[in-house]
Amino acid sequence: MNQSAPNAEALRRQAKVEQWSLLSLALPAVALVFFVVVIPVGWLFFLSFVGKDGSASLEHYQKMLEYKSYFRTFRTTFQVSLFTTLICIAIGYPLAYFLAQLPQRWAGIFMLAVLLPFWTSLLVRTYAWLVLLQRKGILNEFAMNIGLWDSPVKLVHNMTGTLIGMAHIMLPFLVLPLYSAMKKIDKDMMQAASNLGARPSRAFLSIYMPLSVSGLVAGSLIVFILCLGFYVTPAVLGGGKVIMVSTQITAILENQFNWGAASALGVVLLVATFLLLWITTKLFRLDGALFGRG
């Protein structure tokens, strides 16, 4: 453009080539996501608007509004997800705090302990809980031996079992982002608060908590969203009493072979998830914490 700017055109071309070559590195991943996620989800989305007779219709969505069972399924799904998240927070926050205070070497060892179950198959862990929590399982026997309760308590094939299993599986997803957020809190912050006259409890509430909240929300969100789509653990530990959306989708497909109805359930769950993600992100200004932007 500018004649007096030597090499401007060549330099711009060079920058462009560099950009494209960087982008091409992401190409396989983008292609994979497109063919394995975008197209099938789009197809299911389309199916959910196709009625039994093959014409375009909203009958699947209407049915969801009409039948109470659908509503109950969604309520259970959100309940299980919420409780699991709360349990994870209750266990995970102190744990992450503890890890963040440890010297690097010890933190690594303890972190390994948190991550170890992560590397075991989900199915194996779920069945392990089944063994531990059953009527004559280790937990019941132990509790009765020390006199905590007299007769076996029903710990599995119900909501309790589901929550115990899911909280265990989800804990690392909460601890990891929380730990990294806590690690970033300068230790001078707490000293400064203390120096300015804040008791330890006050310093924690006024300074540490607000500074770790981005990690907490990010972790909770990950846990909550993963829970929404959970299948194996509620199916095994819930013993048919905890019907999640995923369970119902399977049931519809197995019993009625109704792709339209199953798809509609999936679409609603997906939309609900996105909505939740969007609201929380806006509410907590989380873009940075979730998507890695400063």
């Binding site: 000293q191 400064a192 120096n195 300015l196 804040a198 607000p210």
Partner: protein, 382 residues
């Protein structure tokens, strides 16, 4: 909340103004290493005292002990008449400026400064007023609504300062508060900090490793090395009358020459008589500390025959242009290097260059002798 405030206030309501600090026998060990080795130090009410030392000398450990952030092994720290050694930091009522500033990123500038006031139950109206006063004092008027990440380094420094004094502590601690600023800003802040100190009249303990900063700002300097106080004196005394080789070497740019003590008590360097001391003096190893600005440079021919001067013949090794002055590195003929600053270039019409044969003279009244505690170390070259 109320309970907390009462505790904070009752910690010290009997005094006003500034409190003296008295440190006795303070010791802190990390394994085998003494971070503080039986430190005794009296800091007077309203004084600006600087803890000066190289990194790892224990100066920050001492400051943190005063603030209450580390627990010494033994000793006593008194603010006024009150023993503080067991008092937790939040009840010590000392203001502190951290090296990292430690401003709370989730609070605005005004909220940061109001935080200590809020903890003390100051009413909202008075809080606002005092925050504004503090902002005015540090020349940040109208920046109260800003977020911390919108501030420059110098502005953050001022906010940290305002937050440290807004609750009117009688002791103010500063841990290398200017080290993150560029040179120009740092020098301006040194003057401003000094003015602020005069205005507040608060007892101030300032930590730095920068000897110029210490000389510029302090009423007194406590030079600390390997956990021990080496010398506590006014800046002029520290600079002109260092009592140990460490102080002479650490403050200013000294060249140290190792002297030989003759039987008659005369101290010589390469057969040049430097000074006479009593033959009974038990110290045998002495160092001559020479400040570059106290040395004057001449050509060999013009070398002073004045009886008041000690003359060393040298060869020019290197000339470094430094803007307002030039620094010349000379060889004493035996491989020992000494530095001379341009104020000493007397023969302005002579152009020196590398290899020139010159002479350096030192007034006898400027001779500075320090005992050589480390005998194996023959010369210190800076």
């Amino acid at each position: 909340m109320n309970h907390e405030d009462n505790q904070v206030n009752s910690a010290r309501s009997n005094n006003s103004g500034a409190l003296p600090i008295s440190i006795r026998n303070l010791t802190k060990r990390y394994g085998e290493i003494y971070a503080l080795d039986a430190v005794d130090l009296n800091i007077e009410s309203g004084e600006f005292l600087t803890l000066l030392g190289p990194s790892g000398s224990g100066k920050t450990t001492l400051l943190m002990a005063i603030a209450g952030f580390n627990r010494p092994d033994s000793g006593s720290i008194r603010f006024g008449d009150e023993e503080m050694i067991l008092t937790p930091p939040h009840k010590r009522e000392v203001g502190m400026v951290f090296q990292s500033y430690a401003l709370f990123p989730h609070m605005s500038v005004a909220e940061n400064i109001a935080f200590p006031l809020k903890l003390r139950g100051v009413t909202k109206q008075e809080r606002m007023q005092r925050v504004n006063e503090a902002l005015e004092t540090v020349q940040l008027t109208d920046l109260g609504h800003r977020e911390i990440d919108q501030l420059s380094g110098g502005q953050r420094q001022r906010v940290a300062l305002a937050r440290a004094f807004v609750f009117r502590p009688q002791i103010l601690l500063m841990d290398e508060p200017l080290s993150a600023l560029d040179k120009k800003l740092r020098e301006r802040m040194q003057i401003e900090l000094k003015q602020l100190h005069r205005q507040l009249g608060v007892t101030t303990v300032y930590v730095t490793h920068d000897q110029r900063e210490a000389l510029t700002m302090s009423d007194r300097i406590a030079v600390i090395n390997e956990g021990r106080l080496v010398q506590v004196d006014q800046p002029e005394e520290i600079y002109n009358k260092p009592r140990t080789a460490f102080v002479a070497d650490f403050i200013g740019e000294s060249t140290m020459l190792s002297l030989r003590k003759q039987r008659d008590g005369s101290l010589t360097y390469n057969n040049t008589l430097i000074a006479n001391i009593s033959p009974d003096n038990r110290v045998n190893n002495w160092l001559l500390a020479m400040r570059p600005e106290r040395l004057s440079l001449q050509t060999r021919m013009n070398a002073s025959a004045n009886a008041d001067d000690i003359v060393f013949p040298c060869i020019v090794k290197e000339i470094v242009f430094q803007g307002e002055s030039a620094y010349m590195l000379l060889d004493l003929g035996d491989g020992t290097e000494i530095g001379v600053r341009s104020g000493g270039f007397n023969d302005t019409d002579v152009r020196y260059e590398s290899g020139s044969e010159v002479a350096v003279s030192l007034k006898k009244s400027d001779v500075l002798l320090v005992p050589d505690t480390d005998k194996n170390n023959v010369t210190h070259v800076r």
